[in-house]
């Protein structure tokens, strides 16, 4: 029968072993794989400025990006491909709440430069290799 000492060893030994593996995988991901998979060299000052705006206005509080965020407004990972830049710019610079089908978006009234930065950010996001996400709907296959 298992003793308390053995149980303690199982906890500490198992945890330390798994954590070391996790750190190794993290290192490989960050140092070798993510820069290539996300085109880190394309992280221009405009893209970074777009990300700051994305964070500053808590866009993730309604939308999802990479499938992460809230589920109140559309997923924006491939929004450039889906909607095109002029449409996105109109939404971002709208002085009144954008309200497709009655669901309102806050009227941020971004300047032209801010809208360009956010579009640069979406363009960078859209080019990241996401292992097949979002999946193409059956009807488009």
């Amino acid at each position: 029968m298992l003793s308390k000492k053995q149980a303690r060893f199982f906890f500490f030994g198992g945890t330390i072993l798994v954590f070391i593996i996790f750190l190794g995988m993290t290192w490989d991901s960050i140092a070798n794989r993510i820069p290539e998979q996300t085109h880190a060299d394309a992280l221009t000052p405009e893209v970074v400025a777009g990300k700051r705006l994305w964070d500053k206005n808590n866009c993730m509080g309604c939308h999802t990006i990479f499938g992460e965020g809230a589920y109140y407004a559309p997923e924006l990972t491939k929004v450039i491909e889906r909607r095109g830049e002029p449409y996105i710019k109109s939404v971002l610079t709208s002085p009144v709440p954008w309200a497709p089908n009655g669901r309102k978006m806050v009227a941020y009234g971004f300047s032209n430069e801010e809208a360009e930065n956010l579009i640069a950010y979406f363009r960078w996001i859209g080019n990241v290799d996401l292992n097949g996400f979002p999946a193409k709907p059956d009807i488009e296959k």
Partner: protein, 455 residues
């Protein structure tokens, strides 16, 4: 209650209850918005309601963990808390930071990173606050003659939770790296170190309620928390499937996430087995209900419902849909909210000397809130699955699908009303106890005291 300083816990529990009511209020705002009634958009747009709802959840659960620790640690270490004054200062400052953060969310002051919206200057205050809390707990243990496994596991969970807050405070230019380390906080909290806290508190409650030998309970506690970390640490991989990270995370995350329910199954079997081995008929039935309910609902909500959409092949379609919200509601309710309710239900009669632990109000609170939560989970589940098929499989647009699934939010609001009724009844019972009294300090064991005085 054996030590005067344990009374501090009461004010943490009061704070918990108030914050929970606020959390539910903002939940209703969100549900109505999903239904098409967003009349508060001008003052509380959806992203504000959402940030307040999720952050209040974290804040009241942390408040509950702290309260539980302030109640449990003195008793486990057989001495008074290191500093009562520090505990009160820490509570007040913790609440102040929380209130400022929530007010900030209403004026667009936040970081906009899911679950970690709190602005950076306030992050530093949180760190100072948590350090003060840990100092108090660690000093109590340091000066104690006895350090039980239960106390050490609980403390270990609290220390790791504090350490894991730090990766969430690093700025990244890349959305992928930002997300990668955000999950170090969020995932490794709720599917890692918080389970340590849960295990510690559950072990304490089972020792007290069932009377089973401490050595037996603590032995199995090690096994369960071992399973938690072995599956949960590499289980972080299920957040790294589709965020720009290498595809080996699909295999590693898939396998270890599939193992994650084992820890929760262990937790449920642990509670049931100890209850069946119990040689005593503990009079505090409500504490027993919430303790057993916590272990079982955590297995269903966090374990099974999590496993239902964690396989990469399934998650490719469910990722970023209401299916996640379905799992999230029952998981947090079962594993953590019910745990705090269990501690409060156990501690209140002992802190106040009043025996309101076997009444209809309390029983109805348990059943209404649980049935309500099951109803909310089901409605979110149906809405989520419908969303997956219509949007992800058939290719309908997001808003077209939202219109189709709107009705499920009507059902959710009905279930949430039942849930809120249960919470209201719980609050009524809670406030009927009144404040803790020094006369409630016992010289005999708590169980003996409850037996001799009767219900």
């Amino acid at each position: 209650m054996k030590y005067k300083s344990q009374k501090v816990a009461y004010w943490f529990f009061v704070a918990c209850m108030v914050l929970l009511v606020l959390q539910i209020t903002y939940g209703f705002i969100m549900a109505f918005a999903h239904l098409g009634y967003d009349g508060l958009h001008a003052i509380t747009p959806f992203n504000t309601a959402r940030a307040v709802h999720t952050n209040l959840l974290v804040v009241w659960l942390l408040c509950g963990f702290m309260g539980a620790a302030y109640y449990i640690i003195p008793e486990e270490s057989k001495r008074e808390l290191y500093s009562i004054k520090l505990a009160y200062i820490q509570l007040i400052s913790f609440l102040l930071v929380g209130v400022i953060a929530i007010a900030g969310y209403h004026v667009n002051w936040w970081e906009g990173r899911k679950f970690l919206e709190i602005p950076r200057p306030l992050d530093y205050l949180v760190v100072i606050n948590v350090l003060a809390f840990l100092f108090n707990i660690l000093m109590t243990l340091w000066k104690a003659k006895e350090r039980t496994t239960t106390a050490m596991v609980l403390t270990m969970g609290l220390v790791f939770a504090a350490l894991l807050y730090l990766p969430g405070m690093i700025w990244f230019d890349s959305q992928t790296l930002d997300s990668f380390f955000r999950w170090w906080v969020v995932h490794l909290w709720v599917e890692g170190v918080w389970e340590l806290i849960m295990g510690g508190i559950l072990a304490y409650l089972l020792i007290k309620i069932t009377g089973v030998d401490r050595e037996v309970i603590e032995k199995w506690l090690y096994v369960i928390i071992g399973l938690t970390f072995i599956s949960g640490i590499l289980g972080t991989g299920h957040h790294y499937y589709y965020i720009g990270t290498p595809n080996y995370w699909l295999i590693v995350g898939g396998i270890f996430s599939a193992l994650e329910p084992l820890a929760f199954l262990g937790m449920a079997l642990f509670a049931i087995t100890m209850y069946m081995r119990s040689g005593r008929n503990h009079p505090n039935k409500l504490a027993l209900y919430w303790t057993m309910g916590c272990a079982i609902t955590a297995f269903v909500g966090a374990g099974l419902l999590g496993a239902a959409h964690t396989l990469p092949q399934v998650n490719l379609y469910t990722h970023g849909t209401l299916v996640t919200a379905m799992h999230g509601h029952m998981a947090f309710w079962g594993a953590y909210a019910m745990l705090i309710f269990a501690v409060i239900s156990y501690a209140m009669p002992l802190m106040t000397g009043r025996k309101i632990y076997n009444n209809m109000t309390g029983l109805l609170a348990f059943w209404f809130s649980n049935i309500g939560m099951i109803g909310m989970t089901l409605s979110l589940g149906v809405a989520g699955v419908a969303q997956v098929y219509l949007e992800r499989k058939l290719g309908l647009s997001f808003m077209q699908v939202q219109k189709e699934i709107e009705v499920h939010f009507f059902v959710m609001i009905i279930a949430a009303t039942l849930f809120s009724t249960g919470i209201t009844l719980y609050l009524i019972n809670f406030f009927r106890y009144g404040k803790p009294k020094d006369e409630a300090i016992l010289s005999e064991t708590e169980f003996e005291s409850l037996q001799s005085q009767g219900a």
